[in-house]
Amino acid sequence: MKEILWLGRGGQGAFTAAKLLGAAYTIDDDDKYALAFPSFGPERRGAPVRAFTKLDTKPVADRSQTEKADYIVILDDTLYSPQLLELLKDSGKIIVNSKQDIGGVCTFDAEKIAAEFRLPTVNTVMFGLLIGISGVVSSDNAAEAIKGYMPQKIQERNINALLRAVQEVAK
């Protein structure tokens, strides 16, 4: 099982990204299973939010919060702290949206990419960066998930931003 932990602030779309990943993973394969859920509770704009995606080739029975993630994706660098390493598997990676370099983690200026596509949030850019780094789903399936689960008028920009982010990793 692959487990992805998403950290963001209320309104940044971390949970939407968690859902899109789950949808993309299962979209064309009946033998793949995913769970996606937010940290449960009241939602407040700006407050720290956690979201979880679990991917497996058998039904995911464990519905509890991830204790050791394969990837931690952080949409807002003020939420990064070295203590997060405790939630990461030894082989795991942390991906952070930041204009600055942070030791030991992969940083990208996701805001800059989002701005190119007039997107106010970085969630689909971070999803693209995750795909570029991990290959957990294909870009095609991610684009299909965006088509299936985002409002039509913002689909194209989000797909383009995601593809651009995948390329950014390849650079």
Binding site: T26, A34, F40, P42, R63
Partner: protein
């Protein structure tokens, strides 16, 4: 059939859309809100032709559903926690009036201390209200229960309202892949509601009346018969469901690796998956572990529970409930089933998940270990036996 990535609430709403209720009464409460929001959107976009009534309380939500059912309409409502408790008075009117209303309950803790997270103290407190009670494990089962519920509740042998329970957040707010049946298949499975138990100007009759000491008990006996009849109707309905949709369900309970099991956890709802995974792990180490998931608390699977536990060395009932001053209510019910069947197996009660507290794989492993070695009768996960506080 189409595949979608949906939460438990959304999956249930999809099932209800396919069941074509004619009246939906709604009052929002976390974590149920999404199901009535989605249904409201479906009514708005025309994909569900129902009268959607915004009511001022849960008491009114159930009263409205009763009124709708009393004119022969298929009625739906949903609630949770304090909302369920507030409408409790009306639950008995619905069951006593034999109105086959379907309600989704998002299982959530009850106050005080105030808490919006999942446990099963709300619905289990209403076991005596005369409603059928089902507990889903995942979003697919939630959707399928929504569709099966009306067929079971409306069967003339049953004529009993049906409460489908989904664990708050862990099921209601968790997204997973769900198969959504075709409209044509759903219509073939579930015909429109037809009943004589309705207000009819051409055939006036007395409904929702009083009955004194001479006759009251007869009505109560008939009500009991109705819920018991659901046993057979659930089996028939699941058979018809499997024929049309290809998904099989196993009646009042679901057994996992119990045939030769020495140690069995009996539980209900979404925690069952982690119990099965833990049982698999223990079996790799030579411990014969099994799991029973209760799917229906009413009608209760008395004979089935006794059969499956009879040859075990010990069993645990793991539940998100406590009847203060006694034990968990599911434990009481399970013990009674064994006693009636003359089975003598040592049983222990584990109370966990109250107020949404996480139950981990290691907690479950410890339960198997504890019942193998013997422990106190009633245990609180994370605290210990009852005598701990003394």
């Amino acid at each position: 059939m189409s595949k979608k990535f949906l939460s438990g609430n959304e999956a249930f709403a999809e099932g209800i859309r396919l069941a074509r209720p004619q009246v939906i009464s709604a009052y929002p409460i976390t974590p149920q809100t999404i199901v009535v929001e989605r249904l409201s959107e479906m009514v708005e976009d025309g994909s569900l032709n129902a009268e959607y009534v915004h009511v001022e309380s849960e008491h009114s939500a159930m009263s409205c559903a009763i009124g709708a059912s009393a004119v022969g309409a298929r009625a739906f409502t949903a609630t949770s926690s304090q909302g369920l408790l507030y409408m409790a008075e009306c639950l008995y009117y619905a069951s006593g009036g034999r109105f086959p209303i379907v309600m989704m309950n998002a299982d959530r803790s009850t106050a005080l201390p105030w808490n919006i997270y999942g446990d099963q103290r709300d619905s289990l407190s209403q076991l005596d209200s005369g409603w059928i009670q089902a507990y889903a494990e995942n979003a697919q089962e939630a959707l399928d229960l929504a569709l099966m519920s009306y067929r079971i509740a409306e069967d003339k042998r049953v004529s009993t309202p049906y409460m489908a329970n989904l664990d708050g957040f862990v099921l209601t707010h968790t997204y997973e892949t769900v198969d959504i049946p075709d409209r044509e298949q759903a219509d073939r499975f579930l015909p429109p509601y037809e009943t004589d138990n309705r207000i009819d100007l051409d055939a006036p009759k007395n409904m929702a009346f009083s009955a004194g000491p001479d006759t009251n008990y007869i009505f109560k006996y008939k009500e009991h018969e109705g819920v018991l009849a659901a046993r057979e109707v659930i089996t028939e309905t699941e058979k018809a469901f499997a024929e049309i949709f290809g998904r099989k369900y196993t009646g009042l309970l679901e057994n996992y690796r119990t045939e030769d099991a020495d140690y069995i956890i009996v539980t209900l709802g979404s925690i069952a998956g982690l119990c099965r995974e833990t049982a698999d792990k223990l079996r790799e180490n030579g411990v014969k572990a099994g799991v029973v998931r209760i799917r229906y608390m009413r009608p209760f699977p008395n004979a089935e529970i006794a059969d499956v536990l009879r040859n075990a060395k010990a069993y645990a009932v793991l539940e998100k409930d406590i009847s203060f001053g006694n034990e968990g209510t599911v434990f009481t019910n399970v013990n009674s089933a064994l006693k009636k069947a003359g089975a003598d197996v040592k049983g222990y009660n584990f109370i966990g998940g109250l107020g949404g507290r996480n139950i981990s794989a290691s907690d479950i492993e410890k339960i198997y270990n504890d019942i193998a070695n013997g422990t106190e009768s009633v245990n609180f996960i994370g605290i210990g036996g009852e005598s701990n506080g003394k």
